[in-house]
Symmetry: C2
Subunit: 269 residues, 2 copies
């Protein structure tokens, strides 16, 4: 495997959610090429067992490494929670992931040292955010965690500020409000689309941490530190690989990416 | 492949939803053995493309046929909609499925000849219920169809009569109420768990058709007609094969099955 500063960044997720990470990277680093992989035939991972998630994650990482990426970004909290070490072990290039990035930003932003994390059931059950926050600050912050399994299907339905979504948010978030947190980590790549609604439910005193933005900052830092920024010239390329083209794929994908999807290739892995 | 009257019935679904069909078959035919297959590693199928669903369905049918089942039941509306003919082509034993059974019962029950069908996006987009209803009555009944993508995650969250679920149901069902239908087909194996709530939203004038019950009646008829009823003696066996044991699998599975899950085996296909 050979990579160079002009090589693409590999970004992967269980489905379309990671497109919020691709979007954040495109906005921050418009000269970089991106190869995205979304495992749309087997999505969602959030309710699957750790062994299955790790097996799928390895298959995807190998697919991207074979395309000479210069960096891997695990744009899926579930895979980051259970498969980061395994992917790092097989990767000759640096591996970044959303959980560490989100945790780091949350630690930097909290003032009262009380942080809440929301995510899929498997991300929350893994305790990965708790571990990551404690890795960045071991002085015993208060951390509350809440699984929000309905947010992903609500986002995919496009009910971003629908009364149903708002009522669901109150159900999930009221216990967190009672804990007097000042920072809420959006621990799932689908959640940035709910940001305005979540901000209004949590109120002005709570800062939202978007892991997609957080990881794009880390990508910029690391490319600079390793002297791997794309020097140009030439337009960056954005290629999207998926394992299935489900109903409404473009509509949903473009809502996540915030722009037109270009080339979409269907792969069997 | 060899089967006999004492052989099991093979029932399969993309996940746990088909357990409502297994339950209806167990209740109606308590002497029959059952081999269940739920593709929990790749669930849900409802948003995947027809080609992918058909490929997965063939793999599962082959797995069950290798276990000498005397009959196959496609307990998944999505697979029934797109893969019935393909499975019938490879199966040496009879194949029943939920859509034809539900359509037949709806045609028999409607009085004003106005039927509504609800299901996942892919089941509704396939038009399979429309086709099946017209196969049983070609005199031009009025048929309304509505995709309800959030019902599956709401059922799996256990919010069977939660205000969020009720509000979601009003959102999806109000257009159907306006059509003056007298029969509502629950075109997804998850929906029987919402039956009391759906009945109250639709009101007394609307009959609900549960495809799980409908298919179990067809199983009974066919076993009798083919003289394939299990003659006993000996206790029936119920074995459950899944491709993953996700978070809360037993809890969710037992809610669907209405009793304890016995032996659960994890398979890789």
């Amino acid at each position: 495997m050979h990579f160079a500063p002009s090589s693409p960044i590999g970004i992967f997720d269980s489905g379309v959610g990671g497109l919020t990470v691709a979007r954040a990277v495109m906005e921050r680093l418009p000269r970089e090429s991106i190869v995205y992989f979304g495992d749309t035939a087997r999505v969602p991972y959030g309710v699957k067992s750790p062994d299955t998630v790790a097996r799928f994650a390895r298959q995807i990482a190998e697919f991207l490494l074979a395309r000479d990426v210069k960096m891997l970004i695990i744009a899926c909290n579930t895979m980051a929670a259970v498969a980061y070490e395994e992917i790092r072990a097989i990767s000759p290039v640096p591996v970044l992931e959303v959980i560490d990035a989100g945790a780091r930003t949350a630690v930097a932003r909290t003032r009262n040292r009380r942080i809440a994390v929301i995510g899929t059931p498997s991300t929350i059950a893994s305790g990965a955010y708790l571990e990551a926050i404690e890795r960045h600050d071991d002085s015993g912050m208060f951390i509350a965690a809440q699984a929000c399994p309905l947010f992903v299907p609500l986002v995919e339905e496009g009910w971003l500020d629908h009364p149903v979504t708002r009522l669901t948010a109150f159900e999930y978030l009221t216990p967190l409000l009672a804990q007097n947190v000042d920072t809420l980590v959006l621990g799932c790549t689908h959640y940035p689309l709910l940001k305005p609604m979540l901000a209004s439910v949590m109120g002005q005193g709570v800062r939202l941490v978007d892991s997609a933005e957080a990881v794009s900052e880390r990508v910029e830092d690391l490319l600079r530190a390793m002297d791997l920024e794309n020097p140009g010239p030439g337009e960056p390329e954005h290629v999207f690989h998926v394992t299935d083209v489900p109903q409404r794929f473009r509509e949903v994908g473009e809502r996540f990416l915030g722009r037109k999807l270009g080339t979409v290739l269907v792969e069997s892995i």
